[in-house]
């Protein structure tokens, strides 16, 4: 069985390497690490040209936090592709082959599985924790313009609320609904739409005009937060469902 296989004792020593090879490998990697450390200690730090450049141009970016400015304005191409990577992973993990649970007339994203076997302490905690996590996500999203924070941090916190709900065991997320697919792709769609609108108005795709840069970044970040939260939650719940599915199959 998958979970039992993981940490069996005889697995610790293998990979087909003899103990002499392992020692040799250990020595080689120690030498490599020492060489890397030596290089880092000896090397002069590069002059912070880009750092001063980014700081000097900060007033053109529409935000006050240099990291957000780099992520969503100066190097927004990277962020666009990153959101595309997230969407690709989400699509490859979406449950096409898992059975649709208990066909109902109207499938809801969040459904209550065992409304009668509820642990009151757990529910009491979650009633505080989940709204708090969502508010925290909104705060992180907003504050990203001025101090560390932004779409990724906010998305991770909101996804954390969903993970807590999923681990509590009373609810399950059903990813076959259409709204889910919209929220998974919203970030990329909005990013591309902003870029296209910008291209029509100014003639460049991701070079925002300074007066509107702040609003463009906010629009993209709100959409990206929704997508990132949905993707991270999908990854967690799907892997959990898949492991449970596998274990059930092995027990029969």
């Amino acid at each position: 069985m998958f979970l039992k296989l993981e940490f069996q004792e005889h697995k610790l020593s293998s990979a087909g390497l003899s103990s002499a090879t392992r020692y040799l490998l250990g020595i080689l990697i120690t030498v490599l690490s020492a060489a890397l450390a030596f290089v880092i200690i000896r090397s002069e730090k590069a002059a912070p040209d880009l750092a001063t450049l980014a700081t000097n141009k900060l007033n053109l970016s529409g935000v006050e936090n240099p990291v957000t400015a780099v992520l969503l304005n100066f190097r927004s191409y990277d962020t666009l592709l990153e959101i595309a990577v997230l969407l690709i992973v989400a699509v490859s993990i979406l449950p096409d082959r898992l059975p649709i649970p208990a066909a109902t007339a109207k499938i809801q994203f969040l459904s209550n599985m065992h409304p009668h076997s509820v642990n009151p302490v757990l529910v009491g905690l979650l009633k505080w924790l989940i709204p708090l996590a969502i508010v925290m996500g909104g705060y992180l999203l907003w504050t990203g313009a001025y101090t560390p924070g932004g779409a990724f941090q906010a998305g991770a916190v909101v996804a954390g609320a969903g993970v807590a709900l999923s681990l509590a065991g009373h609810h399950r997320f059903i990813w076959q609904t259409a709204s889910v697919r919209i929220s998974l792709s919203l970030g990329l769609l909005m990013f591309v739409m902003v870029a296209a609108a910008n291209a029509i108005i100014t003639g460049t795709t991701l070079q925002y005009p300074t007066p509107y840069a702040g609003s463009f970044i906010l629009i993209i970040e709100v959409a990206a937060t929704v997508s990132i939260a949905a993707t991270l939650l999908l990854l967690f719940t799907q892997l959990k469902a898949m492991v449970e599915f596998t274990m059930k199959g092995n027990n029969q």
Binding site: F2, L5, G16, L36, A54, P66, L71, E82
Partner: protein, 98 residues
């Protein structure tokens, strides 16, 4: 020895531990954890070398933020593939008898 240097060296040590794990471990999940440790070591070095006295270079920070998200997505995809391998032939380790 400055604080940045300490972080850089800790990052390199993590990288080394991860590299050993990737090569020496047999189980897919062990390899995956080792790759993640390697990645965290690289992130630490990037963050530590981004500091120039009072100025902090925002570029490596943005790069690490991107890297973390991509690493999470990649890890999830690898776990998914590991589960598929397990379902297909019931093995999760390359030297495990079938």
């Amino acid at each position: 020895m400055t604080q940045d240097l300490l972080y850089s060296i800790a990052g390199i040590v993590l990288f080394g531990i991860g590299l050993f794990g990737v090569i020496a471990a047999a189980h897919i999940i062990r390899k995956l954890i080792a790759i993640n440790i390697m990645g965290i070591g690289v992130f630490m070095v990037l963050l530590a070398t981004a500091r120039h006295g009072t100025i902090t270079d925002p570029l490596p920070h943005a790069m690490v933020l991107t890297g973390i998200v991509v690493a999470v997505a990649g890890t999830a995809l690898c776990l998914w593939l590991a589960l598929q391998i397990h379902q297909l032939d019931n093995t999760t380790s390359k030297d495990q008898p079938q």
